[in-house]
Symmetry: C2
Subunit: 317 residues, 2 copies
DNA sequence: CTGCACTATGAATCGCTAA
DNA sequence: GTTAGCGATTCATAGTGCA
């Protein structure tokens, strides 16, 4: 296979390779999508930027009303000082507010801010700092539009004398105005069992493995083309935690930022992650042909993020 | 079949009826359980009481430290008038606190309070009254131990211009002290199929994780895992919205109070539902051989609840 | 191309003990 | 009293290699 084929060539190639079991059609559509992404990246000159520093300072260098979507998973509050972040629960809101103030400034009026967070249980009680944060953010001028739930398919095992294991996290949606962009059709899902049966008839391994090998989008959205009978999802995302990273434990699985990027942006828009970590959001944004800016305070993570973004770029081209 | 058989008679009857496919044993055990329930109800004289009135007043007639579990789904705040309850969001906390104060008084020190609630979206935003309520309840002396999620299994798809269907509700757990009764074994669930293969042949990694003290590991105390067929659940309840009662909508499914009654009480304990509605909690409590007290302000619901409780009683005897 | 066996690991919490 | 450290406890899923 040549490095770059026309869509027609690739489609023919796929037909020959896969056979006549219906997978060729999938392959064709996926290829089309794939090439569109490449063209978008080249023509629109998608930029992916990772900045070393504290977002409190670095955000100030970003222009007003320039960001379409902020997706982030900040360090959770933690009592122990050695841990990453190391902000105590009682000081968390004070620590967060100056940063969210800048986020409010850089976000476009029709943009969205998605915050992934979960309070810990400590000394028999759940901390209340997340709740206090929501109330404080509203005072700061944010609208608290929705709370999505990430129901973790495979959560960490655990059982204690007074509680079971925690299998969910919050995904808080904030907006600047009531009129924000929401591309609901982009996240439609196949309807129940009907689609499951159809999908089973296809090669399970191909679907999964093509996806896993390069992460470039192949096989990722089988449901999008197959399910012509698709329905809108709800506000619970039932996803697995990922266990693929060698160098860094992923803050959240790719599917999480992917879902919100689909829902709240279109190609060529700009995504911001002020707590970029290993750069999951940036990598996913780039894959989806969105501009992205990441800020991360720890140099080792910045390096890792740069590596990840470029590694995936090789796969894409 | 006679109205009351000995367990032996019933067992023989079941054997003959079912055949020799192993179901007889199950039937025998279920019958045993069934008769134990009847005996418990008779010997311990389980009481089921439904009171007409506002729980603000009626709770005052209940003795201090006499309730093992409070499970309730109060009327949610709503701006529309003439609806059930009809408390506006901004007045909700003030409305709730005098009632929860009485609940705190009547609850035993080792008892639990489970509150089913979910804020509505209004004017494009989620209300914050639930959050304010949690903070206020803590000030009142409650410990906020945990937040369970009811993930609604079969919520039908739906969408609005700026949000998707709400498929989850909060189940807030509050306690009076850190040492509360929790019968975790009562809610264990069957283990996944993966276990059969896994446990037959423990992998090298599992053994290594046992030895290496790298924090937390799966393989620790392997003997605990042998012969295991049930595991502890997590803090997400993935249940359908099925509603048994045809005459009343929007009550929670039986499985919800049932799960918490199992988890936080034993037979002969006392369950309270200060917003009893159509009496789901009372009916389930009675079925499970727990005393119960319900308070309901609307006469038509009190009538409905009485009917339901008695209807099910006929089935039981 | 399918199915099976096997590997790897994920934002955890509490109670006890020692300082 | 107060805090820090450490041990004990607990499942489910995705990814990989090979027959």
């Amino acid at each position: 296979m040549k490095e770059i084929l026309t869509i027609k060539e690739a489609s023919e190639w796929a037909s020959g390779y896969i056979g006549k079991n219906g997978s060729a059609q999938i392959m064709r559509l996926e290829l089309e999508d794939y090439y569109n992404k490449i063209l978008t990246l080249r023509e629109k000159k998608i930029k992916t930027e990772i900045i070393l520093g504290d977002c409190k300072d670095e955000l100030k260098k970003i222009a007003d009303n320039s960001i379409d979507l902020i997706v982030t998973s900040p360090p959770y509050a933690d009592r122990r000082k050695n841990t990453y972040g190391g902000i105590t629960p009682d000081k968390y809101v004070d620590w967060f507010l100056p940063r969210s103030k800048e986020m409010l400034r850089v976000l476009k009026p029709d943009g969205t801010f998605v915050l992934n967070i979960k309070e810990k249980a400590e000394n028999g009680e759940r901390s209340t700092y997340v709740m206090e944060l929501i109330l404080a953010l509203r005072k700061q001028g944010w609208l608290w539009t929705e709370e999505f739930i990430w129901h973790k398919k495979n959560s960490y095992p655990g059982k204690w004398s007074n509680r079971f294991r925690d299998a969910w996290e919050r995904l808080l949606q904030f907006n600047k105005t009531k009129k924000f962009n929401m591309y609901q059709d982009a996240v439609k899902v196949p309807i129940g069992d009907w689609a499951n049966d159809r999908l089973k008839n296809l090669s399970e391994t191909d679907k999964i493995r093509d996806n896993a090998k390069n992460g470039s989008g192949f096989g990722k959205n089988i449901s999008n083309w197959l399910g012509k009978d698709t329905v809108y999802p709800d506000n619970v995302l039932y996803l697995s935690t990922e266990c693929n990273n060698k160098n860094h434990s992923a803050a959240f699985p790719d599917a999480l930022p992917e879902w919100f990027i689909k829902l709240f942006t279109k190609e060529g828009d700009t995504v911001l992650d002020p707590f970029a970590g290993s750069g999951t959001t940036l990598r996913v944004a780039k894959k989806m042909a969105r501009n992205s800016i990441g800020i991360e305070i720890l140099p080792e993570y910045v390096g890792l993020a740069k590596f990840q973004i470029n590694e995936k770029q090789l796969n894409l081209f």
